[in-house]
């Protein structure tokens, strides 16, 4: 073997005696073409979905989740495959990413996430890696298909237009808002923000007493009957409901309030003349006597609208309720102070009255990034601490 290597080395170093320069150059050229073609073909094979889901970690977790989303099936018939989003498209970054995959090979060999439980435990960390990458390259892989320049804002819903126009102006990274677009979010983030989840936990009621009143921590769905099959509407945060009946983890509750008689009367407000929203009902429930008891009607002098006192009996899950408003107001106050002071000195809560706050607050919405629950909670905090309820000044 040693002799063979020595001989080869000697032959390689010396000029060729049997092969012409042209033949060697041509041979080298052909070998080069074959190599480069082969190399790129191999690289592309590792860039196919079949290759990605070759490991059960990918096939049984993220791949199944993708199939629930718009990136799997949609009206235009274009779908995203794993590498479209998760492998950079330019050559240098792609090669670097392929090397990083050595970590995934390691994980597959040693079973780092070989069960669903292990995967779920690690999901937050894994997701954060991807979010960091998307944040640094401004979601470049998304934007290979989705381009701000090609977006027709007029075709969007009004709400989306506001958000998307602002995002386009700032050239914002897609994943800033669209986390969990193609796979499930880590458990810790599902549905509510982390702070909200904590709030919900800390205020959790251990045992619901019939006849007692509790306050909703966040927006909560209401149902027509005990099976919780048919939606009946939604409670807004910090709305008081009285428990009428406890059935396992379900509650029959009574919601009292006032509604305007104009239209379907779907929005229930806390008190006469105040646009402090307690929740809203579906059209069916709002117009049915089965769920609603109506009492006296009064006319609001300011608007000339008739308001009707109502009492509504509906079912809900026994969750996210608090027996005190205090922790909710504390959280709302803190959020109000910190979010608004980023840009300006926030007005005192009692600077406006309860019916002025919604307009003020909604006008500022597009400047901050609050989820729906937090928005509704902060607005109600401001209304309930407005000049109507607290006239220390003004």
């Amino acid at each position: 073997m040693k002799a063979f290597i020595k001989l080869m080395w000697k032959v390689i170093r010396a000029p060729s005696t049997h092969w012409s320069l042209g033949a060697l150059t041509l041979g080298g050229f052909i070998a080069g073409v074959l190599f480069w073609g082969g190399f790129n073909t191999a690289l592309e094979v590792t860039n196919t979905e079949e290759f990605c889901i070759g490991c059960h970690e990918m096939a049984d977790n993220v791949y199944v989740e993708l199939q629930e989303t718009v990136h799997w099936s949609n009206h235009s018939g274009v779908r995203a495959t794993c590498p479209d989003c998760h492998v950079p498209h330019d050559w240098t970054s792609k090669v670097a990413r392929k090397m990083q995959a050595s970590k995934e090979v390691w994980g597959a060999l040693f079973g780092t996430i070989d069960t669903r439980e292990k995967f779920l435990d690690k999901r937050l960390e894994l997701a954060q890696h991807e979010w960091q990458r998307f944040s640094a390259n401004k979601s470049l892989e998304c934007r290979n298909c989705h381009d701000y320049k090609s977006m027709n804002f007029d075709a969007m819903s009004e709400k989306a237009q506001v958000q998307m126009r602002r995002a386009a102006e700032r050239d914002q990274s897609c994943l800033d808002c669209h986390k969990g677009i193609a796979h499930q979010l880590p458990d810790q983030m599902e549905g509510v923000s982390e702070a909200f989840a904590q709030l919900e936990q800390s205020t959790a009621v251990s045992r619901f007493e019939v006849g007692s009143s509790y306050y909703s921590v966040r927006q909560l769905p209401l149902y027509e009957d005990v099976t919780l099959q048919i939606g009946a509407g939604q409670l807004d945060p910090v709305t008081s409901v009285k428990v009428l009946e406890v059935n396992g983890d379900k509650l029959k509750v009574e919601l009292g309030g006032w509604r305007k008689t104009k239209g379907f009367g779907r929005v229930v407000n806390e008190d006469f003349g105040f646009n402090i929203v307690s929740g809203f009902l579906t059209k069916e429930v709002a117009q049915s006597d089965n769920y609603i008891k109506a009492f006296e009607t009064k006319e609001d002098d300011l608007t000339g609208l008739d308001w009707q006192r109502v009492s509504i009996e509906l079912w809900m899950k026994a969750q996210a309720l608090s027996d005190s408003t205090e922790p909710l107001w504390d959280y709302a106050k803190e959020t109000y102070r910190s979010s608004c002071s980023v840009c300006h000195t926030q007005p005192d809560e009692n600077h406006f009255d309860a019916n002025t706050w919604p307009g003020m607050f909604n006008g500022m919405q597009s400047f901050v990034n609050l989820d729906g629950d937090t928005q509704a909670l902060v607005l109600k905090y401001l209304q309930k601490h407005s000049s109507d309820f607290n006239d220390a000044s003004h």
Partner: protein, 55 residues
């Protein structure tokens, strides 16, 4: 060629052909792949210090 004595005359055609195949089909491709791997890893290591690639 047999008329012109050459210091390398003891190298046969088969031997030279073998050497060519060894270089063109094995050595150079292996070295190329190794260089690309090193390049990829160096970018990854650089990213650890300088953060993920931005644009």
């Amino acid at each position: 060629m047999s008329n012109n004595p050459d210091p390398n005359d003891d190298v046969s055609l088969a031997c030279e052909s073998k050497a060519f195949v060894l270089v063109a089909a094995v050595l150079v491709p292996v070295i190329s792949v190794a260089l690309i791997v090193v390049y990829g890893f160096s970018i990854w290591i650089a990213q650890m210090f300088m953060g993920p690639p931005g644009h």
